[in-house]
Amino acid sequence: MPDVHYAPVPDVVFTQLDDGEAVLLSLKTKRYYTLNETGTQIWDLFKKDRSPDEIASALMETYDVDQEAAREHITAFLEDLHREGLVQEISRSNSTPSR
């Protein structure tokens, strides 16, 4: 079974706020979401195509959390984003977006 990776959906617009939080806007659903500082950091690295392990390492530098807990948090966050239609699945084998 291929690993599940995610990529941002093209019609999602992102802007970071001065306090470290951010806003995501889905042009498809017309809904907007706020991200706290952690979510903003994850999204920023995710946008830059960092792997979940790389993102987890970055979270470990910022927060007092171990690798496993960080990975779980990242996975849960990306699954939430997927449920809201803000990211899409990409299979490792063929890089074809599927939903």
């Binding site: 999602v12 617009v13 802007t15 806003v23 806007l25």
Partner: protein, 339 residues
Amino acid sequence: MTASGFLLGARRRVKDVGIQIEWDDAALTEPIETTLGYFGFAPLNKAAAAPDVCPLRLTFSMHEPPLEVPSQAEALSESPEGLRFHRLGETLYLHFKGTVVRLEPQQGTAYGTLATEKTTLRDALLFCLFFYSAVILLYYRGLRTMHAACLTQGDAGCLFIGESDSGKSTLAMRLVESGWHYLSDDSVLLSREGGGIEAYPLRRDFCLDPEAEAVFPQVGAHWQPHLADVRKQRLSIESLYPAQAAAQCTVRTLVFPRIVDAAESRLVPLASKEALLGLLHHSGALAVLDAPTAAAHLEDLKLLTRQAQSYTLLAGRDLRDDPAAAAALFDDVVERRKG
């Protein structure tokens, strides 16, 4: 004869963006001219005839074969008046009961075929089609529309952002009565200039319920019919307060009014993030913009929340009943801003 071959046309300017409007039936002349006047689109002189002076073109036909929305176009949203928006690639379609306008925002063009000859429906429809077509094309030229009243003290502007019937027009009238200058009671254009956001009037005439005359008796001699909303009357505010018309302002205060059951009104400070979410909530055009244009619009809204103080206005009965209450509340805001 105009560039499209249509016999009838007009050239107007919105801020520094020229718009060419063309049509092919004399029956459309009066409603188009009325609509242009309603939005305050200034005439371009005949000497400004070069094509690049008018990067935007709106064309309306009553005789060409009717347009259809392609079946594969994606449905986007629906306006309060019932116009439906669709997208196919970079092309947008506005649709209402058989009348379709095709917009090419990147090219700056809108072309529509009107399906009805019934005067009242046609004029109201034309008004809405013109408004939404122009608004969308202006977005792609960096001019953002905001459903807001805008009043000024000096060159500092106060934007009042809210739905229809949130009290914006009543509040605007009270402030104008007290000597404030006005851009609009309903719709403004926002433009990023010199590192900040400037506001310009889009619609000058105020729109009030007919019952407003009981509160503002001075308006009675200045009523005109509203083209699209039969519940309201248009007020030629420039004929009533000609010396208080403002051409533009730097937005320094954002206010989100909400009518409450209270004797006295109150201003509650808002953090920038809440203000941005409030602005997003009232940016209906985002639903039809492409991602790059929407992203630019979002950055402009963020800049607006940085340069302005933001408040929720819990609007009590005093703003309606006491002519001095609005000025007392907002003069204080302006004074604090200066401090």
